[in-house]
Amino acid sequence: MINTIKNLRPLTIATIVLLLVYLVAIPLLFRDNKYVLHVFILCSQVSIVAITVRGIFVCGELTFGQVAFVMVGAYSSAILTTKAGLPFWFALPLSGILAAMFASLVGFPMLRLKGTYFCISSLILTEVLKHAAKALDFLGSNKGFYGIPRPSAIQIGTFTLIPEFTPYDRLPYYFLIALLLVITVAAFWRLDSSPPGRVFRAIQQDDGLAASLGINVIWYKIKAFAISAFFAGLVGSFSAHYMTVFYPESFSVWDSIHYVLYAFIGGMGYLGGPIVGTFALTWLWEFLHAAAGLQMVVFAAVIIVVILFLPGGLFSLEKFLPLWWTRLTRISRGKFEKEKSNGST
């Protein structure tokens, strides 16, 4: 307990500035611009999942299956709200929990695999879930779910805590997902600097050695898997209630691959890496709309260049920034020990 209090550093200035920009400036500036708000909402959603990808990468495994947990979250939330009549605010955490439970179940056999085999199994998991959803009727079969209720208002007496979510205004959704993103970052920050977080990194470096020290490697990997799945499930639930409609084809293995892509390009060694990667690449893709046909080519070229010349990801450019910036951004770089650690591994 004392240790965790000592480890909680005050929020650095850069993080505060970023929060102000994201939670105040951008909503004010783009209040009526549905398109920009939508892209930011997308960025937030994908960032969360990208952070969860990193959450598993710190255990030394690369997962291409986060979409599976997003799907579990989305379907659970849809079923809980449409068929069981639960309000969204209860369904949201429940979907996360259900996704985490599913991950524990599936993780147990899956995490005995290493390296490339685990990657492929995670990829296949998504496809299995998708085809299962298509085939089974109570999961909506090919039609999926529609008419999923929007989050309801919460009123305490005459005070409106949370306003009604309508189809006409994206702003409440924006704040909701931004809040979820902040919670996710805070959670993984705490996780990284806690004793289990150190165990994860030990496993990442050499799991045989970790096992020889008495660490139950599988148990820790499953924990990381489940935690990551929880947040992915939250995103799934949010997405279901934001779109109000989805069907099996809305999810695809390529989404999963994109999550890994964004996390990797942003920099897996840093807590803020996946966020930077997601925002940078998503907005790049949007800006490239102007280039029409060249969109995909330029996008891919950027990815190739970054991978070849910046193995630590975009975030690793920080070492070119002056010292005062480095001190300011300590939180987002996830550096909680005094020693310097290098980028990706």
């Binding site: 690369l62 056999p109 899956m110 005995r112 695999l113 290493k114 390296g115 490339t116 085999y117 990657c119 492929i120 199994s121 990829l123 296949i124 998991l125 496809e127 299995v128 085809h131 299962a132 298509k134 085939a135 079969s141 090919n142 293995v253 390529w254 691959i257 890994v260 892509l261 990797f264 390009i265 897996m268 046909g293 060249l294 969109q295 995909m296 080519v297 330029v298 996008f299 891919a300 070229a301 990815i303 190739i304 991978i307 070849l308 193995p311 990706s344 591994t345």
Partner: protein
């Protein structure tokens, strides 16, 4: 539709073609221990070359096949030398992302050059062949024969030719291979040349009976994964078995079961295989 024998024949044709596609993938994997997501996009390039040279300019089909083989082999060498070699020894994650970027790049170029719509090509061989109670198009028979010939050639190369044996040595134990004086740069280029060339030929063969489009690669790469998992990652004969298995399972499930269940079964089977016997039927023992 059709008799059991028909379904079996279709399975064989499909399976052999998949095997051809997967062989290149496995070859590259066994030497460099990394997964190339762009592999199926190279299949697509082979298909488009056929579409243009054979479909539009009416060049002799066999000549087109040779052009595809040689051309894509060169592409493979270029890819290895200028892209993948830089990441050698950096772990499999970076390689995967690079191949992902490459895949998107190739698809982007294909989108610009070839357009969005699917393209088909008329079959170069018309006519049917009837053996016993089974009737199938001459096209498929030729495809089968060419696939078998190429697979046999690859096996011969790997077993009897010095370079091929060197590649196998490298795949088995890289350090021991270096000690024997095997040049990894040359071998990597060769592996890529052969692998990519085979992918292209696979595309060239399958396009006349199916179709090609700029994003067919994203769909086919999943089948590659299925195939190599079933047969065993890193094993060449395993890949052929995996390809045939995939062909058979696909044909049979699509013929006799409703559509949704077919792929559920295939992917479910693959998942189970990974959990129970990750190295597939003939895969290499350890990984990473």
């Amino acid at each position: 539709m059709g008799s059991l024998a028909q379904v079996i024949t279709n399975s064989l044709v499909l399976g052999l073609n998949y095997a051809l596609l997967g062989l290149g993938f496995t070859l590259i994997f066994s030497i460099m221990r990394v997964v190339n997501i762009a592999h199926a996009d190279l299949y697509m390039l082979g298909g488009f070359i056929v579409f243009y040279l054979f479909g539009i300019f009416n060049v002799n089909y066999f000549l087109v096949l040779l052009v595809v083989l040689a051309g894509l082999a060169c592409v493979g060498v270029v890819l290895e030398k200028f892209l993948f070699r830089r990441l050698r020894g950096q772990g499999f994650a970076g390689f995967m992302i690079l191949s992902l970027g490459l895949s998107l790049f190739i698809e982007g170029v294909a989108l610009i050059v070839f357009g969005e719509r699917e393209k088909g090509v008329d079959s170069p061989f018309t006519g049917v062949v009837t053996i016993g109670s089974v009737t199938f198009g001459l096209e498929r028979l030729m495809m089968m024969l060419i696939s078998i010939a190429l697979i046999a050639a690859l096996f011969y190369f790997l077993r009897r030719v010095k370079r091929g044996q060197a590649m196998r040595a490298l795949a088995q134990d890289a350090e021991a291979a270096y000690l024997q004086g095997i040049d990894i740069n040359r071998m990597s280029m060769l592996a890529f040349a052969i692998g990519v060339g085979l992918a292209g030929v696979s595309g060239a063969l399958l396009t006349p009976i199916s179709f090609v489009s700029y994003n067919i690669g994203s769909f086919l790469i999943l089948k590659c994964f299925v195939m190599v998992v079933l047969g065993g990652l890193g094993s060449i004969p395993g890949c052929v078995i995996g390809g045939l298995l995939l062909g058979f399972i696909e044909s049979f499930t699509l013929t006799y079961l409703p559509g949704a269940y077919a792929y559920l079964i295939i992917f479910g089977l693959v998942f189970l295989t990974l959990l129970v016997r990750p190295r597939g039927i003939m895969g290499i023992e350890e990984l990473q």
